[in-house]
Symmetry: C2
Subunit: 474 residues, 2 copies
C-alpha cells in the first residue's frame, strides 16, 4: 500500500486527456504531496493506496480546474460601470479608474479572484501593474497564478487621435524594474505554483528598444511574454503611423511571435495576420464575453485554431464583461462563434471545455503542471455537483449530456469543491482559504469612495450611462 | 391603519414603471389579498399599513418576477441531447422525443418549471400538447401560467423535402378539442392566475379552414393566439408551395396578425415582414439562446422594436438552449444583438430587463396583472440577494450598476425569494411549494429509460454528437 493524502472516489471523471474530454467512469484519483499520484479504476486504486481522507464524489463530476488565461482582477472594484457604451476605455472605465487607489485595486483583485475560484477557476491569469497585493492574495489563498506584470512607456492616459503616443523612458524603466522585482520575488514560488510573465501592454505602448529589451530579458529568465495584440483600431493607427505596419507583421519581423509569446484579443487581426501569428508558434487568448460587451465583436479564434494555433480563454475584467466565470466564457465562445458563422456545429461543447482547461494550459505554457487529470500533474481539481436543475437529468446512454449542459446550462454555483496543488480552497461551496464576507465589505467601501470622486468627470463626459441615469432609465 | 398580509421594507426597488427601470430608494410594498396594495416611502407605508409579517429586504433588491414568454417545459426531460448539431429537430431532438411518454413529459415540465422559478420566473409561458400535467403543476406550486395548447393538423413527424405536409382533419379536431377542454377547465382560474391561449403550431401545420376556425374560437373566448411564426426555411418552403407566399403576408391578408396574436421566433422574417407584423399590432417573442444554439442566428427583435412592435423574451426548451433562466435570456439578447450589429450600445441592460418583465407582460397581454410593481397589480415579486461576488460592489453614485450587473454578471442563484399573487414559492433559496429532490429523482428515472430506447435511432442517424461519442470527444 502506498500512502496518499487524499483519495477521491468518482462516478464520472473528465480528465481532458486525449483529443476530447477523456471521460472515465468508476475511477478514482489519489492525491499525494500536492500532485496527482494515480488515476485508476476505483477497485485498483483502493487496493494500491491508503489515505487519511476519502472524498466520495457521489452524484458529482471531477474535472481539472478551469484556467482563466487573461484577467485584470484589479478592475473588480469597478464592476458594472462600463457597458452599453461606445469608446469603452475613455468614456466608460477611465473616469472611475482614475479615482482608484492602489488599496482599492487590491480589494478589487480579491473580489475578482474569490469570484473566479468559486466558479471553478484554479489558475488566475492576472495582468496589470501594481500587482503586489494581488500576488500576495493569490499565494495566500492557494490559487495558481500565471501573472503578467505590465510594462508601458507611453506617457499619457488620454489619447489625441492623429498623434503618436509620447514615450517616457523613465516610465518604461520603472515598470520594467517592477516586473523584474516581482519576477525575482515570485517566479517559481511554491514549486512553480506562481509564474511571473513579462507583460508589455501592447506593441504601441512601448518604444522599439524597450520592446526588444523586454524580450531579451524574458528569454534570459525563461518566461513568457503576455501582451495585448491587434486589439483594436487605436493600436492599428499608432502602429501604422509609427512603423508603417500593424502589430503582427511588425512583431513577426522582430522574431517576437514565437512559442513564448501569448497574444491577447486579436480582435483587429486579419486572417493573414492570424496565420502569421499561429504559424510562428504564438498563442492566442480569446476573451469572448468582454470583447462582446466592449466592441460587439467576435475575435478570430476559429481561424487561429484552423491555422494550427493554440487558443485559451480569458475573462478580462469586471467593468466590461462583467464577471469572472469560465463557464460563462465557454458559453459565450461557443455561441458567439455559432452566430458569427451562422452554424450551430461550430465550437461544440467539448471543444470549448478544452479551451478552458488543457488547451489554455498549453497556450500559457503550464500544461506540465495543470490543465488535465493525469498522474504526475499537480492536483488542480474541481467537483461539480449534479444535484442542480441546470444539470438534470444526466444521460450516459446513448450520449453523455454532462459537458453540453455544463457549457450551455450551468451557471457556476454547481461548482462544489475547488482544490489547487492538493489544497482545498472551497468545499461544499464554502470558501476555506478566504473570507468572502470580508472581501465584499472591503470592496464596497472603496467603490463608494470611487463613485463619489468619479461623478464630476462621469457627468462631464455625458456618455450613454450618464444619459440613462438622467432619463431615469437605469 | 389598513390591514395587509405582508410588508416588504426595501432599500432598492426596480418597479419597471415608466420608460426605464422605475427605480425607488427607501420604499416599501404592502401586499394584501394577493395584490400590491401600496408602494410608498417606507415611513409612510408603516404609518398606513399593519401586517402580521414584515420582510426586511436589507442588502436585497425587489423586482417584479420575470416573465418567460415561450417555453416547451415538457422537453425538460431531454436537457442536453440536442446542441452542436445541424438539423436540430429531426437529427437532434426527434430520436429522444419519440421515446418520451406522457408521464416523462410531465416530469420534464416539473423540472423546467422548478428551474425557472428558482431563477426568478413567476410567469410560465408554456406551449405544447399534453399539457394537463404541466397545468396542474403550475397551479399546485402557485406560479402564474400563460399556457398555449398546441393545435396541429399535419400528420407526420418526419418531413420529406419537397413534399407538402398531409393534413389529417381528425388530428386537428382532436387537438382543438383538447385545447377547448383545457380552456374550459383552466382559463381564468384563481382570479386569472392561469390563462389559456390557443396554440396553432405554425401557419404550415394547419389547413386554412382550421387556422380560421381557431382564430374565430379564440376571439369568441377572448383569448390570444400563440404561434410559431416565420420560424425557418422548412416553414417558408411549405407556405410557398401551398399558398405562394410566406406566413406573415399570408396571415396578414387573413387579418390574423392583430393585437391578440403572439408570434414566436420570426427567425426567417424579412424587415418588410417584421414591419407588417408589428404594424398590425401582433407581438413577438424572442428566444435568443435557443435560436443561437439551434440555428446560430439572431432574430430581428431590434427591427421589431424599431417598427413599434411589442417584444418579450422566452427560453424555449432544455434540449437546445439548454436552460430556463430569464437572466440568461436577457444576457444573450443584449450580447447577440451587440454582435449582430457590431455595436456595444445596442440593447442596453435596462432595455432587456424591460423585455423580461413589463414589455413581456404587454406582449402576452397580461400587463394588467403582472410585469411591474404598481398598486393594484398582483404581487408577483422577487428579491435578489446582493451578497454575491457577481453583484458586488453596488454603486448608486454616479450611476446605478445593479441592472447592468444583473444582466451581464448574475447567474440565477442570486434570486433569493419568489412570490406569485402574494404567495411565497421560494424564500432564502428554499423552494416552499415544490420538492426539488423529488423532481430531480423522478426526471432522472424517465431520462434513463428514454436514453436506452433512443439509442438505436441515435446511432442510425449518426449526427455530430453520435460521432463525438464514437471518437470519445464527448
Amino acid at each position: 500500500m502506498k500512502n496518499a493524502d487524499l483519495l477521491i472516489k468518482c462516478e464520472h471523471i473528465y480528465t481532458m486527456e486525449g483529443e476530447g474530454v477523456g471521460y472515465l467512469s468508476g475511477h478514482g484519483v489519489a492525491v499525494a504531496g500536492g500532485k496527482i499520484a494515480a488515476v485508476l479504476p476505483w477497485a485498483e486504486l483502493e487496493q494500491a493506496y491508503t489515505a487519511p481522507r476519502t472524498i466520495n464524489a457521489e452524484n458529482k463530476v471531477l474535472l481539472p480546474g478551469f484556467i482563466d488565461g487573461h484577467m485584470h482582477t484589479g478592475h473588480g472594484v469597478l464592476r458594472g460601470v462600463a457597458q452599453d457604451i461606445a469608446n469603452w476605455m475613455m468614456d466608460g472605465v477611465a473616469p472611475f479608474e482614475r479615482q482608484r487607489s492602489p488599496e482599492a485595486k487590491t480589494a478589487g483583485s480579491k473580489l475578482a479572484i474569490a469570484e473566479a475560484v468559486m466558479n471553478g477557476t484554479t489558475t488566475i491569469g492576472d495582468d496589470g501593474s501594481g500587482m503586489a497585493g494581488a500576488l500576495a492574495f493569490i499565494d495566500e489563498i492557494g490559487a495558481r497564478g500565471n501573472v503578467s506584470i505590465r510594462i508601458r512607456e507611453a506617457a499619457v492616459r488620454s489619447y489625441r487621435p492623429g498623434e503618436l503616443y509620447e514615450f517616457d523612458e523613465a516610465l518604461g524603466q520603472k515598470a520594467l524594474d517592477e516586473c523584474l522585482a516581482l519576477y525575482d520575488r515570485w517566479h517559481g514560488h511554491d514549486d512553480g505554483r506562481i509564474q511571473i510573465r513579462f507583460g508589455p501592454q501592447g506593441a504601441d505602448f512601448l518604444s522599439l528598444p524597450l520592446l526588444q529589451r523586454v524580450r531579451e530579458l524574458a528569454r534570459e529568465r525563461k518566461t513568457k511574454i503576455h501582451m495585448h495584440l491587434s486589439q483594436g483600431s487605436r493600436e492599428t493607427k499608432q502602429m501604422t503611423m509609427r512603423y508603417g505596419k500593424k502589430a503582427i507583421p511588425m512583431l513577426a519581423e522582430l522574431g517576437y511571435l514565437d512559442e513564448d509569446f501569448v497574444g491577447i484579443h486579436l480582435t483587429d487581426a486579419t486572417a493573414e495576420e492570424v496565420a502569421i501569428a499561429a504559424g510562428a508558434g504564438a498563442s492566442m487568448i480569446l476573451c469572448s464575453a468582454s470583447i462582446g460587451v466592449i466592441d460587439g465583436e467576435v475575435p478570430p479564434a476559429k481561424e487561429y485554431l484552423d491555422a494550427g494555433g493554440r487558443v485559451g480563454l480569458g475573462s478580462d475584467q469586471a467593468p466590461g464583461n462583467n464577471c469572472h466565470n469560465m463557464i460563462h466564457e465557454m458559453y459565450t465562445t461557443a455561441l458567439f462563434n455559432k452566430i458569427r458563422f451562422q452554424d450551430p456545429e461550430i465550437m461544440p461543447a467539448w471543444q470549448v471545455l478544452r479551451l478552458a482547461t488543457i488547451e489554455n494550459a498549453k497556450a500559457l505554457g503550464i500544461d506540465a503542471a495543470t490543465g488535465s487529470i493525469k498522474a504526475g500533474k499537480d492536483a488542480d481539481l474541481i467537483l461539480i455537483d449534479l444535484h442542480h436543475a441546470s444539470l438534470s437529468p444526466l444521460l450516459t446512454v446513448p450520449m453523455r449530456n454532462f459537458v453540453p449542459n455544463l457549457v450551455y446550462s450551468a451557471r457556476g454555483d454547481e461548482v462544489d469543491t475547488v482544490m489547487v496543488k492538493g489544497r482545498l480552497l472551497m468545499e461544499g461551496r464554502k470558501p476555506l482559504t478566504f473570507d468572502l464576507d470580508k472581501i465584499l465589505a472591503e470592496v464596497q467601501g472603496f467603490a463608494d469612495e470611487i463613485g463619489a470622486l468619479a461623478a464630476p468627470e462621469f457627468e462631464k463626459i455625458d456618455g450613454k450611462n450618464a444619459r440613462y441615469m438622467k432619463e431615469r432609465k437605469l
